[in-house]
């Protein structure tokens, strides 16, 4: 499920979502952080919705599998969307 450099180019990630917008996870491009995200339920094929942003725009909260996760923008960037 890891993507190579070329595939990542121009690929949409959770970072690019607007509040209330959803997307479907297609990959995680950071192996180590990917493990943590996988365990928290960010499995490829799952729908993810951007729920809110912190006062200064970072971190954000997302809804995956009906629960809310909070994460930083640079972490959100590693969750690639279809």
């Amino acid at each position: 499920m890891r993507k190579t450099e070329e595939e990542r180019q121009g690929q949409k990630s959770v970072r690019d979502l607007k509040i209330g917008e959803s997307g479907v996870i297609c990959g995680l491009n950071d192996p180590e952080m990917g493990l943590k995200l996988l365990e928290m339920g960010c499995i490829p094929g799952t729908e993810v919705k951007l729920n809110s942003r912190a006062p200064f725009g970072d971190p954000i909260t997302i809804i995956v599998n009906d629960y809310t996760l909070s994460l930083r923008l640079d972490e959100a960037e590693t969750i690639l969307l279809k």
Partner: protein, 718 residues
């Protein structure tokens, strides 16, 4: 199918004779799955924490009466999402579960799972099931999930999992009785397999199994992942594993990722017919609406600082009533004893032991009030919002949103606060947090602050409720917080990063606090303080009394004669004579000698040798300062002055003016704000950082800062 030879021959030998003695039960589950509530329900007040109080860091154990005849030992493990630990906190788990030969190895694990997040909670369950440890699934908050439209077919789930599933609500205590009955039965590991070990690893795992005489592929796989951090493996074992894994090209991260995905696929298929969702999304919608206000860019911070302000006012104002009672009670007790008995032992008891005990007990109301607030903030889920709001700001200072919890806990006590920094996975963020946390004003500084504030700051009210003394106290806390931030900034530039910083965490839904948990936290913290710090305080009080009441050789004896002769020559009254004698004796006592010898060093800060004595004795624990001052000034007072404030107020300098001027008092407050006067903190930092470098650097840095800042304060105010 994986060839998993079922239980019989492994540690079963150890397990079977356990019933007549005591069953060992481990409690494990995702964070926020109600694990702590269940632990509290099972054990009540019958629980103990390790040496130092920590939230979930240390292994908490307790006892539970399962049936009238059967008692079990319950071990509470830190919350985790999987058997692949991402932080030091979670590492405790693998140490316990991967060593079947250990005497702590559990007979049963209770896996707590939140019914509304069943899928994710079952990931951990499935891993434990594959380790073939007999288990029970405590399906928590089934009623809440049902209200939200999540229906779970429990008989079907039980059949699929192959272990008992107990629906419960741990907050209300529902289902706990059923769980106890199930645990009192002879339980077996499930026959179901949730993950098939990849075929290409089979021969590798075979080698591991035969070397460590294991009978389970999945456990062998766990050895391959974790061998470097398993404490019970020898150096040769580790070297052997290194070579083996090198040779077979085992890639841990890829294997873990594949495993997680495979498990989720299996769980998803399994739950297809078991869980039915007709979601109303009520709680989430409510939480989201609340978050729009509570994490708002203006109101969010406004509310946060209002809450902080409320806490400080509460600690200062509310706690003062029980504190006055304790203070008065101790004073009256001493008076009663002194009026009715006589002799050196009476002095030891009243001026040493009871005075010291009073100095310990007086903190309890403040600790209770403070921890009530912290527990409520954590219980309601608000603490996660604080972390969320503060992350970007904290990162600028080299900290982490998660650093807010240790920093705020540091307001109570640096010891548990430093331990709570374990949840920060990133090494650099964690070290910086640990380093600066003791700069936050802890509860042990409160007595120093309050005694000195009450001495020099008038008790005035603005607008009927803003207490001037409370405002000064808040300013001191603010200075500590700023000092922590700027020290962090300094360290950020010095330290080199070892890894990237993570933030990902679950954002809990707002909940009502569980009052039982809040109550237990208060009891646990107060108890820990009284017994941990109390020992030091009472011991130091006694040693100090001895040091101040005896001196070396003839000088001490001559002090009395000299004072008497002077008194006669100057025609002093009886009280003045006694006063003169006591003060000369103190000067020539052991304590006086030490205090005098450091006086030149501390004079620029406005301190005399009496304060010098207090600085030295409170090196072990800063709260000792008040006890020491109280003891020093109870020797040689004019009449029976009862409270510490009055003792200090009556102290005069050579010209007969009050000794404790605002400049002196503020210089002292600033000194205690910055100085690392706490042996417990040094010890915990050494333990958490596994080196002496960190606590030593902290000691030097903080003491140096304290000296410079107190010097500036004294010069500015006088």
């Amino acid at each position: 199918m994986t060839v998993v030879t079922t239980q019989p021959d492994i540690p079963q030998v150890e397990r079977s004779p356990v019933q007549p003695t005591m069953a060992k039960i481990a409690l494990i589950g995702n964070p926020n799955s109600g694990k702590t509530s269940l632990f509290n329900q099972l054990t009540g007040l019958n629980q103990k924490v390790g040496n130092f109080p920590g939230v979930t860091v240390d292994k908490k154990t307790g006892y539970s009466q399962l049936t009238p005849k059967l008692k079990a030992q319950i071990i509470d493990l830190p919350g985790t999402y999987s058997l692949y630990p991402k932080s030091l906190d979670e590492r405790v788990i693998i140490d316990l579960l991967y060593d079947p030969a250990s005497k702590h190895y559990p007979d049963i694990v209770i896996v707590t799972a939140d019914a509304s997040n069943l899928k994710r909670n079952l990931l951990l369950f499935s891993q434990l099931a594959d380790l073939l440890i007999p288990s029970v699934l405590a399906l928590n908050m089934v009623d809440v999930a049902e209200q939200e439209g999540v229906k779970i077919d429990i008989p079907a789930l039980q059949k699929e999992l192959g272990v008992p599933v107990i629906p419960m609500n741990a907050r209300k205590g529902l289902g706990v009785a059923a769980l106890k009955i199930v645990m009192s039965q002879q339980l077996e590991a499930t026959k179901a397999t949730f993950f098939e070990v990849p075929a290409e690893l089979k021969s590798l795992l075979q080698d591991i199994k035969s070397r460590f005489s294991l009978n389970n592929d999945y456990l062998a796989l766990q050895y391959a992942h974790h061998y470097k951090s398993l404490k019970f493996l020898s150096e040769q074992d580790v070297a052997w594993m290194d070579a083996l894994l090198q040779e077979t090209g085992f890639h841990s991260i890829t294997q873990q990722a594949n495993e997680t995905v495979a498990r989720y696929t299996r769980i998803n298929e399994m739950l297809l017919d078991i869980v039915r969702v007709e979601k109303a999304d009520k709680a989430e919608k409510f939480s989201n609406r609340l978050d729009q206000v509570l994490t708002h860019k203006v109101f969010g911070y406004l509310i946060f600082f209002t809450i902080l302000f409320l806490i400080f006012q509460a600690v200062f104002a509310w706690a003062s009533y029980p504190m006055d009672l304790i203070d008065l009670g101790i004073a009256n007790l001493n008076l009663l004893i002194q009026e009715n008995f006589e002799g050196p032992l009476v002095n030891l008891l009243t001026e040493g032991v009871i005075a010291g005990l009073g100095g310990v007990l007086i903190f309890v109301p403040q600790i209770a009030v403070l921890f009530a607030f912290i527990a409520i903030l954590e219980e309601t889920g608000y603490m996660a919002r604080v972390t969320f709001m503060m992350d970007k700001i904290m990162r600028k200072f080299g900290l982490n949103g998660k650093s807010v919890v240790p920093l705020i806990s540091g307001v109570a006590c640096a010891v548990p606060a430093v331990m709570s920094a374990r949840t920060i996975e990133n090494w650099k963020d964690r070290m910086i947090t640990i380093f600066v946390t003791p700069l936050m004003s802890c509860s042990a500084r409160i007595p120093v602050y309050t005694v000195l504030i009450a001495l020099v700051v008038p008790e005035k009210y603005y607008f009927g409720f803003l207490n001037l003394q409370g405002l000064v106290l808040m300013a001191l806390y603010l200075i500590g917080f700023l000092a922590a931030l700027f020290s962090a900034l300094l360290l950020k530039t010095i330290l080199k990063a070892r890894e990237r910083s993570y933030f990902i965490m679950e954002f809990p839904v707002y909940k009502m606090p569980r009052w039982k948990n809040v109550g237990l936290t208060i009891v646990e913290k107060s108890k820990a303080f009284v017994f941990e710090a109390g020992k030091v305080i009472v011991a130091v009080s006694i040693i100090l009394w001895v040091l101040a009441s005896y001196g070396p050789g003839d000088n001490f004896k001559e002090a009395r004669q000299k004072a008497l002769a002077e008194a006669q020559a100057q025609n002093l009254s009886e009280v003045q004579t006694e006063n003169r004698i006591a003060s000369y004796q103190l000067e020539s006592s052991y304590a006086g000698i030490v205090g005098r010898s450091i006086e030149p060093v501390i004079r620029p800060l406005g301190y005399d040798w009496k304060i010098g004595i207090a600085l030295l004795t409170s090196f072990a624990a800063r709260e000792v300062f008040v006890g020491t001052m109280s003891t020093i000034y109870s020797i040689g007072e004019e009449e029976n002055v009862s409270t510490i404030q009055n003792k200090l107020r009556t102290e005069k300098n050579a010209n007969g003016d009050p000794f404790f001027t605002p400049a002196r008092a503020f210089s002292l407050m600033i000194f205690y704000l910055f100085a690392m006067q706490c042996v417990s903190t040094l010890a915990i930092v050494r333990r958490e950082t596994k080196s002496w470098q960190w606590p030593l650097a902290q000691l030097l840095y903080m003491s140096g800062l304290a000296y410079v800042m107190a010097f500036i304060t004294y010069q500015v105010f006088s």
